[in-house]
C-alpha cells in the first residue's frame, strides 16, 4: 500500500467514526444501534494500520487476492448490521401494535365510563 493511499484510507476511517459518534452525540442515532457501526469502523481502521496482518490472514484462509478477502469480510459485516436492523424493526413493529391496541382499549374504557 502506498503512503498517500494509506493516509486517504485512515482519513476515511476516522471521518466515518467521527460521523457515527457525532450522530450519537446529537441524539440522532441511539448508542445501542451505533455499536455495530463503530465496530465496523474500528475494524476498517485496524486493517489500514496493519495491512500485513490482513495479508497473512487472507493467505492463511486460502484467498489468492487479499482484496477479495476484504470484500467478503466487509460484506458479512454489512449483512450482520442489516439483519440486526430488521430485528430492531420487528421489535418496534410489535411494540407499536401493542400500543395501538392499548390506546384503543383505553379509549373504549373511557367512553364506557362516561356513559
Amino acid at each position: 500500500m502506498t503512503l498517500p493511499m494509506m493516509i486517504l484510507a485512515i482519513a476515511f476511517c476516522v471521518a466515518f467514526l467521527y460521523a457515527v459518534l457525532r450522530l450519537v452525540a446529537r441524539g440522532r442515532l441511539l448508542l445501542r444501534y451505533s455499536l455495530l457501526w463503530l465496530f465496523l469502523g474500528i475494524v476498517m481502521l485496524l486493517c489500514v494500520l496493519f495491512p500485513n496482518a490482513v495479508f497473512s490472514l487472507s493467505t492463511l484462509v486460502g484467498f489468492v487476492t487479499p482484496a477479495n478477502f476484504m470484500l467478503l469480510v466487509g460484506l458479512l459485516m454489512v449483512l450482520a448490521i442489516a439483519l440486526s436492523m430488521s430485528v430492531a424493526l420487528s421489535r418496534q413493529n410489535t411494540m407499536i401494535k401493542n400500543l395501538t391496541q392499548k390506546v384503543a382499549l383505553l379509549e373504549k374504557d373511557i367512553e364506557d365510563g362516561c356513559k
Binding site: 413493529n93 401494535k97 395501538t100 391496541q101 390506546v103 384503543a104 382499549l105 379509549e107 373504549k108
Partner: protein, 236 residues
C-alpha cells in the same frame, strides 16, 4: 364453565362501510354481545358505527387483520368473556352458526372453526384455485401437527378462555388463521370443526387475490412450519 357461557362476537372491520351495520344487526338479532374492531378504516366505517350506536373498538391506525382480531381477544379477556367468536365484517358469516361453534367450545374444544368443507354444503365454496390452496394448507398443517383441519383459512372461529389468553400473547399479524391453528395445536390445545355455510361477501374486498396469492401461499406455509418449530419450545 357454567351452563351458559358469556359469549362475545368479535367483528374485525376494515373499510366495510357497506356491510358493517347489517352484519352487526344480524349478530344482535342472534342475541350476542359484540365488539366491532375498526382497523383504521379510511372509509366511513367508523362514522357508520357511531351513528348507529354500535359498540366499537377503534384502532387509531391500521394494524392488519391479525392485530385487529388480537385487539378483540384482548377486549374479551379484559371483560372476562368465556368464549369469543370471530365473525367477519363483510357479511360472509351467518350468525346462525355461532351457537354450533360455542357448543363445540362448551364440549371441551379450545378452538372451534366454522368449516365449509367438513361436510358438503351448498353454500359459497370459494373458487377452484382457492380450494386448491386450502387443500394444500390443510395438508401442510396435517404434515406438521398430525391433525386434520378441513378449512384452515376460515375466519369464522370461536375460542375458549385458554385460547383467548394464548392469542392475547401470541397472534400472527397478517393472514393469521392457518398459522394460529398450527400454534394452537402445538400448544397442546384442541381444535374442532363445525359445518357452516358461507355467503359471498356483501361488500368490501378480499385481502387475498391476484399476484399476492403466491406470496400468501409461500408466507403462510412458511409461517406454519416456523410456528410448529417454535411453539414446541413454548408449550406448557
Amino acid at each position: 364453565m357454567g351452563s351458559k357461557p358469556r359469549v362475545l362476537v368479535i367483528i374485525p372491520a376494515y373499510n366495510e362501510e357497506e356491510s358493517i351495520v347489517a352484519t352487526v344487526e344480524s349478530v344482535v338479532a342472534a342475541g350476542y354481545d359484540y365488539i366491532v374492531v375498526n382497523d383504521g378504516s379510511r372509509d366511513a366505517t367508523l362514522a357508520e358505527c357511531r351513528s348507529h350506536g354500535i359498540n366499537v373498538l377503534n384502532l387509531p391506525q391500521n394494524l392488519g387483520i391479525g392485530g385487529a382480531v388480537q385487539a378483540g381477544h384482548k377486549y374479551a379477556l379484559e371483560r372476562e368473556y368465556d368464549v369469543d367468536v370471530q365473525v367477519d365484517g363483510d357479511g360472509q358469516h351467518d350468525p346462525a352458526y355461532i351457537a354450533d361453534l360455542v357448543k363445540l367450545i362448551q364440549n371441551g374444544a379450545d378452538l372451534a372453526i366454522g368449516s365449509r368443507f367438513v361436510q358438503k354444503t351448498d353454500g359459497f365454496q370459494s373458487t377452484f384455485m382457492r380450494r386448491v390452496g386450502i387443500t394444500w394448507l390443510s395438508f401442510w398443517i396435517h404434515l406438521f401437527t398430525g391433525e386434520c383441519v378441513t378449512d384452515p383459512t376460515s375466519g369464522f372461529r370461536a375460542c375458549g378462555r385458554e385460547t383467548i389468553e394464548f392469542f392475547c400473547s401470541y397472534y400472527p399479524t397478517d393472514y393469521p388463521e392457518p398459522e394460529s391453528i398450527a400454534m394452537v395445536l402445538k400448544r397442546g390445545l384442541s381444535v374442532r370443526e363445525a359445518p357452516v355455510k358461507m355467503r359471498e361477501r356483501q361488500g368490501g374486498r378480499s385481502s387475498i387475490g391476484g399476484l399476492s396469492t403466491v406470496y400468501y401461499m409461500v408466507k403462510v406455509s412458511l409461517a406454519i412450519w416456523v410456528a410448529c418449530w417454535t411453539s414446541a419450545t413454548r408449550a406448557k
